[in-house]
């Protein structure tokens, strides 16, 4: 533990390490061929950071996100969440960690069909054992934060793609997690909705929530402060973003452009 904290100090300066992957490998067999999705990845994510994991398809970036999000388990190596090694945890203990500390945003939204926005956002709170009234209040607040305060009773099928993704973001942050993991959050969206989603994620980060973006798109990646490049299951490059994109400014520019047209 002491050694761990030293390395935290080295990497994250004053900030706490929220999530750490150590020598993580993932290997699975597909049609009798061994696929090495990850080959020894070390990664530290500090509190308050906005980080992009970037790479072409097949680079292992989604696998890495699933492993650090405790949705999948590594073949080798360990994952630490807020200083706690989760390698030997039971599935139910992992579920509790996901429930309390991690929020997910998926490319395909992954909302429950035929279930209202509010009920979708309440879902994680049900599993954390919160009472009905408290749940409803928190879900409303979360939906208001993503600008959907007037769409509480709408079903996913009655919402646009961008709105559905915002419901998913509300679901991710309703438990006040330490970290939000977003896997290609703009992948299924048009550029304006994509920018709106990025703006929400940047706003959340400004409010102190750690955000990890997984994307193949350099434009999206540049919304973060730090980019980790992945290729063939290895981290090949890390960079600090110099000219960070601010979604709010780009949206404003887009609106002006449209107004002139």
């Amino acid at each position: 533990m002491v050694e761990n904290n030293d390395s935290v100090a080295a990497m994250c300066l004053d900030a706490r390490v929220v999530l750490e992957a150590r020598d993580v490998s993932k290997c699975y067999t597909l049609d009798e061929i061994e696929v090495h999705a990850l080959r020894g990845v070390d990664l530290q994510i500090c509190e308050g950071q906005m980080l992009s994991i970037m790479g072409p398809s097949g680079s292992g970036k989604s696998t890495l996100m699933h492993i650090i999000g405790l949705l999948d388990h590594p073949s080798n190596g360990s994952v630490t969440v807020e200083g706690e090694d989760v390698s030997d945890m039971e599935p139910n203990e992992l579920a509790a960690v996901r429930n309390q500390r991690i929020g997910f945003v998926f490319q395909a939204f992954n909302l429950l069909a035929r279930t209202s926005a509010q009920a979708n956002v309440e879902l994680p709170l049900i599993y954390s054992g919160l009472g009905g009234a408290e749940r409803a209040r928190k879900a409303r607040e979360a939906l208001e934060r993503v600008g959907l305060g007037d769409r509480l009773g709408h079903l996913p099928s009655q919402l646009s793609g961008g709105q559905q993704q915002r419901v998913a973001i509300a679901r991710a942050l309703v438990t006040e997690p330490s970290i939000v993991l977003a896997d290609e959050p703009t992948g299924n969206l048009d550029s304006r909705s994509g920018m709106e989603v990025m703006q929400i994620l940047q706003d959340l980060n400004d409010q102190g929530i750690t955000v990890v973006l997984v994307t193949h798109d350099p434009l999206v990646a540049k919304h973060a402060r730090r980019v980790v490049h992945l290729a063939d299951g290895r981290i090949v490059e890390e960079e600090i973003v110099k000219e960070r994109y601010i979604a709010r400014d780009r949206l404003a520019a887009l609106s002006t452009e449209e107004a002139h047209r």
Partner: protein, 396 residues
Amino acid sequence: MNIFESFRIALRALNANKVRSILTMLGVIIGVAAVILLVAIGTGVQKEVTGSIEGLGSNLVFAFPGNIEESGAGGPGGTITKQFTIEDADLIDRRLGPDEIVVPVIQAAATLKVGNREMRTTVAAGNEYSGEVFAADYVDGRGYRRSEVQAASRVVILGSRVRDQLFPLRDPIGETVDVNGQRFTVIGHVASQGGSLTGDQDNQVFMPVTTAQRLLGTTDISIIIIKAADPENVNSVQAQVERILKPRFGEEFSVFTQAQTLGILSDLLGTLTVMLAGIAGISLLVGGIGIMNIMLVSVSERTREIGIRKAVGAKTYDILSQFVIEAVMLSVAGGVIGIVLGWVGSAALSTVVPTEITPWAVALAFLFSAGVGIFFGVYPAYRASRLDPIEALRYE
């Protein structure tokens, strides 16, 4: 998470997937209702038929031509080489003494005509003591007399349905009816009795045995029925009848007491019930396959649902309890509706066919359907709940 929360989740999920819920329930409903209904019919018919024979009294002995035991439960008709005649009945009557009543019986199909109304019925013929063995409840008129039997008079008594069909609006007494082309006078008609040993009694006409022989151009009779004066004596009467017939017929006849006849008929009707239960079992199976289909078809969608729930923090127990409660609620609701439908259906059908609800059929149908529903509702969910969340989310 407590059990009430599990119930609420399950209710929400059922409500969110109404079509699937209703289709699943439908499988259970059809299976349960079909089994209850068909077994009710089988049991009802069996009870009514055996009941109507029992109603004749326990002191009857029946003599059939042919060796029924050898030709099997199929009854007379297999290996009959020599038929009874009236003389055989008279012989039995003389030898048994005055206390026992002997009735020679003929049964045959006939066509009745009144004006342009025509119908196929069964003729049941006997002697002046017929009323003792065919429990007849006269609405109006009378039975035939000894003199009419001796003279082979063309008199006829109508069963209730025959009367309704041929004389819907008028009193049939004294009217003439055309039976197989010969003119008969109606002397009485009887009340509805329902089914019996000899088929539907309401669809029969009754006439003297001698008249029937002349009408059919035969000297044969179908069976001989003997009524013992004392129910205690049926076995000795049976033995006496066997001794009387043996010199004339050798082994080619059979004598049964009412209890034995009941046994044979029960076997026969039991087979009918088993057959109906078999058909019902097939509906149950089809219903079960329907439930299975719907549950398995929805597995991919539900596996993703399980993935989502696990990703946001559902534990294995949370997932299982939700799916168990869903499946139990659907199956039990479907089962209860099926029982109600089967019950109402049997009540409605009882105006046409006798029905009787059997508890074991209800229990069997319910347990089977509910079992299938619960198994196929829970088992795929159990498997999905053990996957890594990401595998469940990726499931296609």
